[in-house]
Symmetry: none
Subunit: 125 residues, 4 copies
DNA sequence: GTGGTCTAGACCACC
DNA sequence: GTGGTCTAGACCACC
């Protein structure tokens, strides 16, 4: 048996940004905090923030220009793909966990339906 | 922003046992590995295993008799309650994650339905 | 006027590996030195090597498995694309430099022809 | 393996002047910026500029008269020799790089020909 | 002030 | 021994 380890901080930073972009809280062109600001705010090492920002740049989520800062650069289409991927991962893990407890497909759907009607707060769609 | 930390290992051990009981891989009366065995197998500190076993005893999942070993002692009814609790937690976290990406209730149900038909392997129920 | 700065060490490492793959000195499946070995050999910081290796992994040049080491994973086709890109960059910079000295196209070709016949050592092709 | 280091700034300054003379942007008798002006413009240390200017004087590229400034003093013949040397260096490095990628002589000539016809902008000669 | 590179070194997981 | 993450901090280029 292997034990779960915390996801790397730099990955958590990236995922958080992805979610905020998906939610529309951050849009193309928006400036995100400087690496130093973020590091101080979150009380982590600037290098860790830089790694996150660098990987986000590799993923074309942001663009940075030296002396200027870092700016959201993801477009709508790319964002949709990211959203889809993240959702797929969440779904996969949900199904895996539920199957590990022997829940069948029908049960899962019923339980989800019930869960949704009980804790409200979601958007109608 | 706060970052996720790994769940404590002793908790992960307990959850793993719970799942194996739910799946019927471990039944009332079955002997589980000694603390020492478990610790060696998993290459973790015996104290960590001890903590897990102690808490499982508090939860009435197992019973330890000195010199004999540790045995599953959960009954069917208790197990059902545990299963329900675990499922509720999994559902809650699923819904939270999906809402964080602005998925609506209908969408979630549709996507789950699709996910279930695509990656087969679940039990019919 | 801006001055040239040394290319980052991690980039130089990557380029060196690319060239060795192109030359066939390193082939798919070959193990490359561990990060520590490389760092000691080149007397640079292990973190710098790791950055190079990590980026090579992102580029699908190598694959690393924890506890095992790092292995060349680029296939023939990808390598051809890389070779083409590198050659294009070299050519571009050559042409730019020569034009900055007002050499015309014909002259460049003549001079290259002459240079090739004088310092031999290249492969016939 | 050894890593490339940035060329000294004073050398880069000299090369830049050489190119501008070759291009005819600077001609015999033209005044070039004072060391102080240059240093401020380029935001570098005046000592670095002084070293560049001193070496250019040694190379007979410029002449400095105290209180008057520094003037281009290279004649046509000398300039031709410099141009030839610089071109030879550029060619040598090009051939070396291309051979390191196993390009043969014919290939190099073909590729250069193609590169020249594609990115136009050169002078006919 | 902004990001970019690099060093030094700790600690961990996996083999 | 292997790679992976993170901290601490220096120094630099560009604004």
């Amino acid at each position: 048996m292997d034990f779960d380890v915390a996801r790397p901080i730099y990955q958590q930073i990236i995922d958080d940004y992805k979610k905020r972009m998906i939610r529309g809280e951050l849009r193309q062109g928006d400036k995100i905090p400087s690496q130093r600001e973020y590091a101080e705010m979150a009380r982590i090492n600037p290098n860790t923030v830089q790694r996150a920002y660098r990987e986000m740049e590799n993923l074309n989520l942001v663009q940075t220009s030296r002396g200027q800062g870092t700016f959201v650069s993801v477009n709508h289409e790319e964002l949709e793909a990211i959203k889809k991927d993240m959702a797929a991962a969440v779904l996969r893990s949900f199904v895996t966990e539920m199957r590990a407890m022997q829940f069948g497909d029908k049960e899962m759907l019923e339980m989800l339906g019930q869960a949704l009607t009980s804790h409200e707060g979601g958007t109608e769609k």
